[in-house]
Symmetry: C2
Subunit: 338 residues, 2 copies
Amino acid sequence: MQRITIIGLGLIGSSIGLALKRAELRDTQVVGHDTSSEVARQAVKLGAVDKTEWNLHSAVEGASLLVLSIPVLSIPDTLEAVAGSLVRGCVVTDTGSAKQAVLAWADKYLPPSVDFVGGHPLVGADTEGVQGANADLFRNGFYCIFPSPRASREGVKAVVDMVTALGSRPYFMDPQEHDSYTAAVEHLPIVMSAAMVSAVAKSPSWGDMSRLASSAYHTASSLAGEDPTGNLDACVANRQDLLHWVDQVVLQLREYRRMIEDDTEALSKALAEAYTARALWLARKASGFVERSGPSPEIPGFSEGMMQMMMGEALARRYRKLDELFVRRDEKDRKKPT
Amino acid sequence: MQRITIIGLGLIGSSIGLALKRAELRDTQVVGHDTSSEVARQAVKLGAVDKTEWNLHSAVEGASLLVLSIPVLSIPDTLEAVAGSLVRGCVVTDTGSAKQAVLAWADKYLPPSVDFVGGHPLVGADTEGVQGANADLFRNGFYCIFPSPRASREGVKAVVDMVTALGSRPYFMDPQEHDSYTAAVEHLPIVMSAAMVSAVAKSPSWGDMSRLASSAYHTASSLAGEDPTGNLDACVANRQDLLHWVDQVVLQLREYRRMIEDDTEALSKALAEAYTARALWLARKASGFVERSGPSPEIPGFSEGMMQMMMGEALARRYRKLDELFVRRDEKDRKKPT
């Protein structure tokens, strides 16, 4: 009987458990551990693990595969704590989103008798916590894999097998490249969401204003509403890349500010391009990022007529009614005797 | 037989139709109009309207209540076009999110024989387009109402009755106050989402990077992925208030940048406060914003222990492992001989 141990039974950990259980691996016991006994209890109830162990050492004892699904900054302490309890040949993996740091910690804390092969599953769903766990969470998505330089071929194979059992697609990547991309598409959105909430919730009018907050605010604030420990880790574990992207987005916001103030045509173009970029991303994602030559995928909902309406003379006509109504305040300020 | 006409059969227009049909108003016919024949066809199929009229004048003819559920900047042309076809005593309302402009247009284009009572339903759902339409979209939410200064008591009552029939809560507001709040919680999120997409999608690495984009990017980009005409209108219809909020969020992003760079404790506090602000908003929203004295509502998922872990010595311990790993680049630059 082989043992797979999952430490951390939130959304990712429990979903890995459920997917492994569904894969019906022969002679395999899935053991879980979570610092919250309530979360551990729910994971058992969901059938994500065969049993849980409250004691960390008992949980990892005899495991041939150990999955760490915990906030990134909890990883070094956990590696340090379990290092002495792992059997020779145990393969350790994680699910964190900052791989350079995790690989360095694995190198520092794990004995040479153990293989470390980092991982980062890319999840499409917006659910959170053990309640959102499901066996299909990783299906057809990419699962990034980062073997440590000293990992054995068998260790890498064990993680690839796990990823395949999850229904996911193994994707080998350079950790540095991974971290720079993740800063843009995973950590920057967290900072923006938190900055938006900080800006509006500090307003003296927030009490009244918050009644008007509906779907747009709900969406824009949702990342700020995720586990703040995880968000903090995301902001600091890969600081330099994130700072670069915060700078980029501040530049973009200033450009949008300029366009909102006095260049409706450029703003229209920028919004249409953002719409198109997202629609193309969704289309490429839906096709599994199988890139083909030939015409680009069709963008749903965005017709040629719509594009024309947003450009040139038709746009100018549309917005003339607004300018007739409000002479912009800044124009008054700018006006100089000629 | 009274006639209610809905112009614009997207998410809002069709949901109003469905809710009115469900309310089983006596001797009432609901007529729809949309510039897209496909959308009009779907609205009929859903049962959102009894019939559609392709011709705008035929659609509004004889209507005692006219609902404009179209992008804000389409409102002046539509008001101008239908003004001559409206019967005496017709009540006109809209669903746009910039009320000062709409009220001014109504004053300019509608004859004195017609009442204008602006509206702005606050929607909780994240769905979009006619496919997402449902009769419960407005249930228990606020529906802001803005009678024009010359609207009759009967006109206001007609719109309040409609709002009540939708299962929604009438909420009278000052248009200027409404617009300043909406800029913060509805239009700012759109600009931020678009700026984020513009920043990352312009990167030369976007082709590879986009494969790593998953749930966080999906959420953060979703507003940029809504109808770009509606987004453009949102950005310009209430320009001055929006510019103020873009400035506020840029200041916040710079503050987050500073904290990410070298103040992990302040960052931890800011993220915890953002988390709390959102959780409190959700709790107040769930209770219908019925404010009580006494203890504030409980914040789910955020324990005292969690707060402590994110502060002070425990936090410092947690992040020491990261600082041990990476000497920050900027520290090297800053170091001066003592």
